[in-house]
């Protein structure tokens, strides 16, 4: 790689922003491969070959005292001193980066010095990492992936059916863990915009989320209906079965029929329905083999 292909005027705004927020420590390799000055160049050649690296810092304790590059090894082979010690042939006072430096400095160093990698020191001048152009490009690719995912998510709304200004219905799929909770996040955002106080907002969000999760993890799918009235809000979770065998037992704290898969997502403690009971003013469940309807009411005064 001759240079990092990022030049002023050609780099997108998003990539520029990513570069500006990153520091050298964010991209450096923290797992260090080092050698001491009493090791032979031949041994270092073997380490480089095995590790796939082109430069090896020579250290005393945590302090870097030199560096052996691939060029040094080639020279040693050409001039037949490969069995001599690293301390005799290392480049002393190597150019280093500091872990707290902006990434822009690191990029400019690669441009300026044309080295394959730089040692990174902390504020105590201890060697804490190495950074190559590949490390920088890997991290940038990772960050760009995050940005693209965030943009994709921004435009991917939960399946919402508008039923008037005060009612929303969300379709929930069975075991759709990726999207479980999206409806409740939307509800919370919507209610926050209406100026509701933080305590009521939390109660509504918790009730909605627990009911939504309940439909996703325990049923064959269903809907979450959210109604706002003048003096209360109403959350109705309807599912398509298989139904709750014993509602009284299901409402006991700690009772659960959750599988390991559900627990792997952080649910299945047997607290969901009791959490809904705790945060709502009225909560009823009706269930048969055809499905369950959970009906929650939270009294509310807008602007309170």
């Amino acid at each position: 790689m001759k240079y990092i292909p990022l030049t002023a005027g050609r780099t997108s705004v998003i990539v520029s922003e990513i570069i500006l927020k990153l520091k050298v420590r964010d991209v450096m390799q923290k797992e260090l491969i080092t050698a001491t000055e009493d090791i032979s160049l031949k041994t270092i050649q073997g380490i480089m070959k095995k590790s796939g690296i082109t430069g090896l810092p020579i250290v005393t304790g945590n302090t870097i005292i030199g560096i052996i590059s691939m060029d040094d090894i080639i020279n040693a082979l050409d001039n037949r001193y490969i069995d001599e010690l690293a301390g005799q042939h290392m480049s002393v006072e190597p150019v280093t980066l500091e872990d707290d430096m902006p990434l822009t400095i690191a990029i400019s160093y690669f441009d300026k010095y044309k080295f394959g990698r730089f040692p990174v020191l902390n504020k105590n001048n201890e060697l804490v990492g190495m950074v190559s152009q590949g490390d920088i490009l890997s991290r940038l690719l990772y960050e760009i992936t995050l940005e693209v995912k965030a943009l994709e998510d921004k435009y991917e709304k939960p399946h919402e059916i508008e039923m008037g200004s005060s009612s929303k219905t969300y379709v929930l799929k069975s075991h759709d863990f990726e999207n479980a909770g999206k409806a409740s996040s939307e509800i919370k955002k919507y209610m926050k915009k209406r100026g509701i106080n933080s305590q009521l907002l939390r109660r509504i969000a918790v009730a909605s989320y627990e009911l939504e999760i309940n439909v996703v993890v325990h049923s064959m799918g269903g809907t979450l209906i959210f109604n706002t009235e003048k003096e209360y809000i109403e959350i109705i979770a309807k599912d398509n079965g298989p139904g709750i065998e014993d509602i009284d037992t299901a409402l006991k704290d700690g009772f659960t029929t959750a599988t390991d898969k559900i627990r792997a997502h952080g649910f299945g403690a047997g607290m969901g329905l009791t959490n809904v009971q705790r945060v709502t003013d009225k909560f009823e469940i009706k269930s048969s083999s055809e499905g369950t309807i959970a009906h929650a009411i939270i009294n509310i005064n807008f602007g309170s």
């Binding site: 995050l146 479980a180 996040s185 919370k188 952080g266 403690a269």
Partner: protein
């Protein structure tokens, strides 16, 4: 205590920094892998500490307006989880410490 100071004291990696990162004041920690425990909590401005890596951790933090999420045990965090934290503007931290070690330190700090 300020979240930024806690993150610094614990040498956390910051995977996502919320817009109000430097203004977040943490009053305690909820340490659990079960999200219903978090939803049952009455605490405000708490740090959600868990080993669990799931979209539901971030969604739960959003639902209860947690101050931040701290993933323990050096657990690998996939890009989609970081992206979700960004979407909800939630600070996401990672530590090499275990949940128990993290709790001890946070309890001392706050």
């Amino acid at each position: 205590m300020e979240l930024s100071k806690i993150a610094e004291s614990m040498n956390c990696s910051i995977l996502n920094k919320s817009q109000n990162y430097y203004e977040i004041d943490i009053s305690g920690a909820v340490v659990t892998n079960m999200m219903s425990n978090v939803l049952a909590s009455d605490h405000d401005n708490f740090l959600l500490v868990t080993k669990l890596v799931s979209a539901q951790v971030i969604r739960t933090a959003d639902i209860v307006s947690a101050g931040a999420v701290l993933i323990t045990d050096s657990t690998d965090i996939p890009p989609e989880i970081v992206a979700l934290a960004r979407e909800f503007d939630i600070t996401l931290l990672n530590t090499v410490l275990s949940a128990t070690e993290s709790r001890k330190i946070i309890d001392k700090l706050v």
